[in-house]
């Protein structure tokens, strides 16, 4: 769902010539952005009419139990004091304990984030492998039926409600055909077989050399990853097409053609080479969006990822978990942005 509102404008080119100054400014702006992110999340958490105390003690608690927990959470202190306490903990790398399951939030995130990462990585991989060629072909054959089909494929991807597509996919490919694994990351009897090193089942099982677990994990991930892949495909292929069109209308392409260079060499050797950098930005954005966690996909496929983790936490007023999750996701988003900026500066021929 979130994939559709991405755009290329997020990328920022650092206007500062000297790299030291640039680095300092970049770090500064990250810090400011993170602080703002934390503060807004914190405020939302506090003004939300979901009582965190009630979330812990439940419906039947006596008033004395309620009051005890209220104080224990520090809710009797002024808002700004609560925020500063929280900030101090975060700076020291402590996201606090989840109010609901009494575990360190960092532990929870370490458990749910790899699940999302695995799904997002495979999703964006599918998006690139299918989306980039589709975009290039569409641009080259502009206006032809191939272009039209590519357009429809992409726009259908933009337009499909994922929760409906997910349920239908599950019904058809798992329920009726039995081609893929069901909801969850593994069949029950494959669970807890390989030691968790990275938290990503495909990677862990490959490291352990246990291919039966690997294939079982793969059969579970392939459907949700294909769905997410379809969404990134839609975006990636459209952007690839417009970048390519821009290049193909450039003078050097005409010159190359006039010189008698083969069409293949013109397209892949010149035009495509020049859009690689722009593509990196687009892919980084797609990836960042998938890493935010596709809440609805995760719910439908019982995928224990960060999107559903934050959502569940939010709805049950587990503010430490929401804050921790938001910080991690925000940080990754910002880092990916910076990374794509960096790549841009390294590879962009014009910026040299």
């Amino acid at each position: 769902m979130a994939v559709t509102d991405t755009n290329g404008e997020r990328r920022r080119r650092a206007p500062f010539p000297r790299w030291i100054k640039g680095t300092v400014l970049t770090l500064g702006s990250i810090a400011v952005t993170m602080l703002g992110l934390l503060f807004i999340t914190f405020i939302i958490g506090r003004v939300m009419p979901i009582d965190p105390v009630l979330a812990i003690v439940g419906e039947r608690a006596s008033q004395s139990t309620y009051d005890a927990v209220y104080e224990q959470l520090g809710l009797d202190k002024p808002l700004i004091v609560q925020f500063l306490y929280y900030l101090w903990d975060v700076v020291r790398g402590d996201f606090g304990m989840s109010l609901l399951n009494a575990r360190p939030v960092s532990e929870d995130i370490a458990r749910v984030f790899p699940a999302t990462m695995e799904l997002a990585t495979l999703g964006v991989f599918i998006g690139i492998v299918l989306g980039v060629p589709l975009g290039v072909i569409a641009a080259v054959n502009r206006g032809s039926w191939i272009d039209q089909i590519a357009r429809v494929v992409a726009l259908v991807g933009y337009s499909m409600p994922i929760f409906w597509l997910g349920l239908m996919g599950l019904l058809v490919f798992y329920g009726i055909l039995g081609w893929v694994g069901g909801p969850g990351r593994l069949d029950i009897f494959y669970q807890d077989i390989v030691p968790s090193r990275t938290g990503m089942i495909l990677v862990d099982s490959a490291i352990a050399g246990d291919w039966s677990v690997f294939w079982n994990g793969f059969s579970h991930i392939v459907l949700p990853a294909s769905l997410l892949g379809y969404y990134s495909l839609a975006y990636i292929s459209r952007m690839t097409r417009s970048f390519m069109l821009e290049q193909l209308s450039a003078e050097y392409v005409t010159t190359a053609r006039v010189k008698g260079m083969s069409e293949r060499a013109v397209i892949w050797g010149h035009a495509f080479k020049n859009i690689r950098v722009q593509l990196i930005t687009v892919i980084a954005l797609s990836y960042a969006n998938l890493l935010e966690g596709s809440v609805l996909t995760e719910i439908i496929f019982s995928w224990p990822g960060i999107g559903s983790y934050i959502t569940t936490a939010l709805l049950s007023a587990d503010m430490n978990a929401v804050l921790g999750g938001t910080v991690v996701v925000g940080l990754i988003f910002i880092c990916l942005n910076i990374l794509s900026d960096l790549l841009y500066r390294i590879f962009d021929p014009r910026s040299k």
């Binding site: 399951n101 499909m160 329920g175 009897f189 669970q191 059969s219």
Partner: protein
């Protein structure tokens, strides 16, 4: 577009299919393993002194033993000896002495002793967590447990502040909070004087049929059998409860044979699963009630005729036979069926004409009310049905949907006109519901008795409070039962509560799974008798 989508997905799937060559045949879980799909997102802790939700009691019942407990083969027999081999009640009925059974051991290998029992019960009182009221209602406090809960040799004696009905006290001890923990192991894991609370939230130290292997929040609970269980090693060596939110997903998993049991199928999926090969459906009456309540602070709703009228504006039959089909049965009394004192009289049915007359006689026409309901589909549908029938009598009902906690917070602060919700008994004694629906000693805002449903609806109970207080100390079972029947008769007629339905849990399971008991209206599921 469907074919297009399929095309895209198939392209990606092709590889997987080619390599795994998964057979379409129904899979099967290993013979010594029980796999269950259930919604377990309500678990917030597994410490028996703190755990209070449905999925948590399912775990607790299989991990911790209690002084007295229910036999899954015969729930109707009531509480039976477990850790306590026998007990004596003193002359005035306020002191009970339990004799501890010999030869029981905890999972750690430590013997179960009177000292462990003393520690566990005191601990529950001192920690003062949510369910502690189940014990503290007998007058136990953190200050007096030294005198009121005392171990001596192989006996434990508890002294209540009044002579309560013995059945009431023992029923309360069968609740999750009565679970006996391994003192030595727990104290080894104590942090900052928390009596092991933090550790026990995610670990177990019991003597029951199973021990906890892991609890991954919103993901799974895994239990491992205890080979030294005093009734013999359970047949299912491993029990895995997996969190699956969607009914459709649960059904697919079951029909494909990837799980043995699905516990949250909706009526339509139950109907569909009934036709599937190798799946059987079982029904079990549970204790949960669905009710509508009317805030007595509302000037119109506080009129007796209006309260009556509302009870005639509910399409009990229509709902029972349509979207609640098979999962709720009409029940208009606050004691669930199978409880001591439960009655079966359901005098109300949809009667718009009568309701209109009652409203007219009260001069309450054209009301506009707000109903709060949590975002669960069946409740939203009930709310919409109410909206529909209320409208026929000229009452506008506006539905406010929110998360459970949001709606609950407003209910507890007496803000909602109308609340639509469910109530499940906390322990298997009639007082658990009588003490909340029909008991409200101080109706003032200042009392802040947020735990009492009567208080939340600002209802002074019209004299029922005293009758409830009398019933709870009556030791003659038949007399006590009659007292509750009388209380419910008056309640049905006058209370601002329209109790509508009692829950029937429909479980779909593979046909080789035997001896499943979910715990009826009184307790939770038992895994140890299950075979397949």
């Amino acid at each position: 577009m469907n074919s297009l989508t399929k095309l895209m997905t198939s392209a990606a799937l092709g590889l997987a299919v080619a390599l795994t060559a998964a057979p379409v045949a129904v899979a099967e879980t290993p013979p010594n393993m029980l796999v269950i799909a259930n919604r377990i997102d309500d678990i917030t802790t597994l410490d028996p002194a703190e755990s209070f939700e449905f999925a948590g009691s399912d775990v607790s019942r299989n991990v911790y033993q209690k002084l007295v407990n229910f036999d899954p083969a015969n729930l109707d027999a009531g509480y039976q000896p477990e850790i306590a081999e026998s007990w004596d009640v003193s002359g005035d009925g306020s002191t009970i002495t339990f004799t501890i059974r010999d030869g029981l051991t905890f999972h750690s290998g430590n013997p179960v002793t009177a000292a462990d029992v003393e520690y566990s019960l005191r601990r529950a009182v001192i920690l003062n967590k949510t369910p502690s009221f189940i014990l503290t209602q007998f007058g136990f406090t953190a200050d007096n447990v030294g005198e009121t809960i005392v171990a001596d040799g192989n006996t434990v004696t508890i002294k209540t502040d009044k002579p309560y009905a013995t059945s009431f006290v023992l029923n309360c001890l069968t609740a999750t909070i009565g679970g006996i923990v391994d003192m030595k192991t727990v104290m080894e894991n104590e942090v900052d004087g928390d009596m092991g609370n933090t550790w026990l939230k995610t670990n177990s130290a019991g003597s029951g049929a199973y021990k906890l292997v892991s609890w991954k929040p919103n993901e799974s609970v895994t239990l491992q059998s205890n080979p030294d269980f005093y009734l013999g090693a359970p047949a299912m060596e491993r029990v895995i409860v997996r969190h699956v939110q969607e009914s459709a997903s649960q059904r697919l998993l079951l029909e494909r044979g990837d799980i043995d049991m699905a516990r949250n199928l909706n009526p339509e999926d139950i109907a569909g699963a009934r036709d599937a090969d190798g799946v059987v459906i079982t029904d079990e009456l549970r204790g949960r009630l669905m009710y509508v309540s009317l805030n007595q602070k509302h000037p119109e709703l506080s009129k007796p005729e209006v309260r009556q009228a509302i009870k005639y504006l509910i399409d009990y039959e229509g709902m029972q036979n349509s979207f609640l089909n098979g999962q709720y049965v009409i029940h208009q009394n606050f004691l669930p069926r199978t409880f001591l004192g439960a009655v079966d009289e359901n005098p109300f049915s949809l009667n718009v004409e009568k309701a209109k007359e009652l409203l007219a006689s009260a001069g309450a026409e054209g009301m506009e009310l707000e109903v709060g309901v949590r975002e669960a589909q069946e409740r939203i549908e009930i709310a919409q049905t109410l909206q529909n029938t209320f409208a026929q009598a000229g009452i506008t009902l506006n539905i406010t949907v929110g998360t459970a906690k949001q709606i609950l917070a407003r209910y507890r602060s007496r803000e909602l006109d109308v609340y639509l919700g469910a109530w499940g008994p906390d322990y298997p004694d009639p007082h658990t519901n009588a003490g909340t629906f029909a008991f409200n000693p101080d109706n003032s805002d200042a009392a802040n008795a947020t735990g009492l449903l009567a208080w939340r609806n600002s209802w002074d109970t019209g004299g029922l409070t005293e009758k409830v207080a009398a019933a709870v100390v009556e030791n003659d079972r038949d007399v006590r039962s009659k007292m509750y029947a009388d209380i419910q008769a008056q309640f049905r007629d006058t209370a601002p509560f329209a109790v509508m339905f009692q829950k029937i849990e429909q479980t779909a399971q593979r046909d080789n799974v035997q001896n499943v008991n979910l715990g009826g209206a009184t307790t939770a599921v038992s895994y140890w008798p299950i075979t397949k």
